[in-house]
């Protein structure tokens, strides 16, 4: 059977300005990425990439974005992501940068990668903790990662050998 194959690109939004977190929305990010593709690859690139282009998942607290595009044009998309310089929403413009974390064929692989990545981030936060209460909080969240089928943020309790998928 002929099936449309997609690629899911997992990125992280990095910025200096704390107010930038508020304006991370799917429309703003989608517009910024499309604009970057248009600037770098022109009309042809923009048209190719926007065949099945959406922002599938967005987390404003951690700045994680999951984009989808067709398998044939994912290279155009990935090569244009470094050129995103600012996010614009509600007439506010904030400088930012996108860091690609993982490119996967399904949402599930990206979810698995994100779980490992967040676990590593939590461990690093644990090192820099100053407060005993914060430590307890982080330890609890690390241990209490429970597998629920419908949520996309929680981890699962497999053993911790994180293989690098990057």
């Amino acid at each position: 059977m002929v099936r449309f194959k997609n690629r899911y690109v997992l990125c992280e939004v990095l910025s200096d300005d704390p107010r930038c977190r508020q304006c991370i929305e799917d429309r703003a990010v989608g517009l910024a990425v499309r604009d970057a593709i248009g600037r770098v690859h022109g009309d042809y690139g923009l048209a190719c990439c926007s065949i099945s282009f959406t922002v599938k998942y967005l987390n404003a607290y951690t700045g994680t974005v999951l984009l989808r595009c067709r398998k044939d044009s994912y290279r155009l998309l990935c090569s244009a992501l470094p050129f995103v310089r600012y996010l614009e929403s509600r007439a506010q413009r904030y400088p930012c940068a996108l860091n690609t974390l993982h490119v996967g064929g399904t949402i599930r692989t990206c979810q698995k990668f994100l779980i490992q990545y967040n676990r590593r981030q939590l461990l690093m936060l644990l090192q820099n903790c100053t407060n005993e209460e914060e430590r307890q909080c982080i330890r609890k969240s690390l241990l209490s990662c429970s597998l629920t089928e419908e949520q996309s943020q929680s981890g699962d309790e497999e053993d911790d050998d994180g293989t690098e998928t990057d």
């Binding site: 600037r39 470094p82 050129f83 310089r85 940068a97 690093m124």
Partner: protein
């Protein structure tokens, strides 16, 4: 696999901005960076100062994301040469030059490019990306540079900032690719602010734009950078008499070792 490295972080006078740059680089996954000190001979005669040791500048280095090691900071010197007499500085036995880990040269004319590829004792040859190249690359000096183990460096931050720079960057890069077939390329940023840095995966994708194949682009960020750092180290051992080895635990110890494990490349 070799860790990712970014070999060009301009060294400004501000310590705090350097610290934030280092933290951004460590967060993105770079295992090694090089602080770049640029010497331009067009201005009044400048002295080559001793490189500031990174351990003095930064009391605590951030940990690289994804590993548990600290980021490695090297020192690098870039000479912008527009006249053959400027190259004499490299041949002189000035002690300060030897103290830098990596030495790069930025030739402005065709003759200097030829000299840099064939005879000069450098690790990197920078390719101008901010303006149209005044000369065309020719095959003989490029092949000689590849044999000697010299790498060509391309910057990507001007491409991110400005659209005309982007065109010059891509056209210069592609013309270089056509001559050297994608070997011996190093892509680095010249980022002055942490937001201009891009992660190694993104930089490898930029390499695809410049005409590299996917494996060559990944090598441009990892393996070739490691080879450049090793080339810089062999320069230290072959020319110096004392080879200082910093052991990870005892920092102040100096010992003379015969560099049996490092093959010194033949010097011109």
């Amino acid at each position: 696999m070799a860790g990712f490295a970014d070999l060009n972080l301009p060294q400004g006078p501000d310590k705090k901005s350097l610290q934030s740059l280092l933290e951004a680089a460590a967060h993105l996954g770079y295992s090694a960076v090089a602080l770049n000190h640029v010497i331009d001979f067009k201005e009044k005669k400048q002295e080559i100062i001793k490189p500031v040791s990174p351990s003095e500048l930064f009391p605590s280095l951030p940990i690289v994301q994804g590993t548990s090691k600290r980021i490695k900071v090297l020192t690098r010197l870039t000479l912008v040469v527009s006249d053959p007499s400027h190259c004499n500085l490299l041949r002189s036995t000035s002690a300060n030059i030897r103290l830098y880990d990596i030495i790069a040269v930025f030739p402005k004319t065709e003759k200097l490019f030829h000299i840099a590829c064939t005879t000069l004792d450098v690790d990197l040859v920078c390719i101008n990306v901010t303006e149209k190249l005044p000369f065309y690359f020719r095959r003989p000096p490029v092949n000689m540079a590849i044999d000697r183990g010299i790498y060509f460096e391309l910057l990507y931050t001007p491409a991110i900032k400005d659209s005309t720079m982007r065109r010059y960057t891509i056209s210069n890069a592609i013309s270089l690719m056509q001559i050297c077939k994608g070997k011996n390329i190093v892509i680095s940023s010249a980022a002055e602010r942490p937001l201009e840095l891009r992660g190694p995966y993104d930089v490898a994708n930029l390499g695809l734009l410049f005409g590299l194949s996917e494996s060559e682009a990944k090598a441009a960020v990892s393996t070739n950078c490691r080879a450049t750092m090793l080339h810089g180290e062999t320069r230290k051992t072959a020319c110096g008499v004392v080879y200082t080895v910093k052991k990870p635990r005892k920092v102040e110890e100096e010992e003379t070792t015969v560099p049996a494990c490092k093959k010194a490349k033949t010097q011109a």
